[in-house]
Amino acid sequence: MSDIEIKDNPDIKSELQTPPEPGYSEWRKDENTLYNDGLPEEEKDWFCDARPQKARKSVQVIENFLNWARSQSLWILAFGTGCGAIELRPLVTSRYDISRLGMQPRPTPRQANLIMIGGYVSIKTLKRIVRSYEQMQGPKFVVAVCSCAINGGMYWDSYNTVKRIDEYIPVDVYVTGCMPRPEAVLAGFNKLKELIKAGKAEGQNLYIERFDWYKENQKKVIKDWNMPDYNW
């Protein structure tokens, strides 16, 4: 369990790059509405154009209890985004069995709390990741597995692979390795649980706080946008 590196992401990010001051960018109509410019005109009716709002927390005591419950019932979005996703199979089967931690794979992002970025993220995959992430209901957590997700890994000079996933969605826990062993992933999950219990895994609100910044980053690389600005 020692060859792992766990980083508490928000701290890293704040020292790397300051997000822009709150202000209205061009795709944001107002406080509550989005432009959805990436969509053809006739499809705009079919997508919700509301801007996500920051979620309020409950009273601290209750929130602590709820955080505990959340940490005990993490449902993973079963979406293999890269080669690291193969690690989920040993994790759910009898050898490691994450179900004893209250975790289970869930086939729909609506019902999942945790998305596992399983390795390299190409532009095409990034688009799907963003969509799935936004479709999850918060509080939601991101665990990025493999070095590719951290710094590009062996795809460090690829024309089509993003190197830092945390520029596009807020990541709670990174698990290094190429690929990390299931034990490492498990340790990552445990770290996430600690963060949740400590009330530090507020990636969802972070995403909304820095929504414009994230969106700008996403749109910079995803040229073929063709989806609403926020996938409800």
């Binding site: 532009i123 590009g152 460090w156 073929d224």
Partner: protein
Amino acid sequence: METLYKELKQYFDVDEFSVQKASLAFLRVPKSQLVSLLTHMKDIRGYTHLVMVTCVDYLEQDSFLLTYLLHNYSTHCDLGIQVSISRQNPVMDGIHHLWEQGRVYQRELFEMFGIDFPGSPDVHEPMILEGWQGPPPMRRDFDTKAYSEATYSHRPRDHKEPEEYMKQQLYPED
């Protein structure tokens, strides 16, 4: 294979015949004769299976070398038919009428090398690279590293020598 080559020689301007092993050989054909040769191979010679279509960028010779790999199920032989086309005018005749799956290869070749196949269905639709705006990425004159550095931000390296760091982590008491 040799006999096959000799027979083909009578009808087509094939050359640069090279045998890799008993069941695999390559030969080269002029661009204009490719489709008729492939038709011949498929309909008469029994090379009914299109294994793949691939391309090599010979930047120095200013040409793309396309390789159509065929397989014969009765003799279990593979034949690679190569054709060289100009890099300046990368247009090739499609073979999707012979093999339906040919259009997928052709889409890929267009996307990655910019080789056009007029008439091939959806050939200009993006396949893997959604919304790609740069030059075809598999061309050798495309500098992927420069592109990557310009487009994607890199995580600054938090430099630690692995050996020392691991020692520190694992055996801090030493």
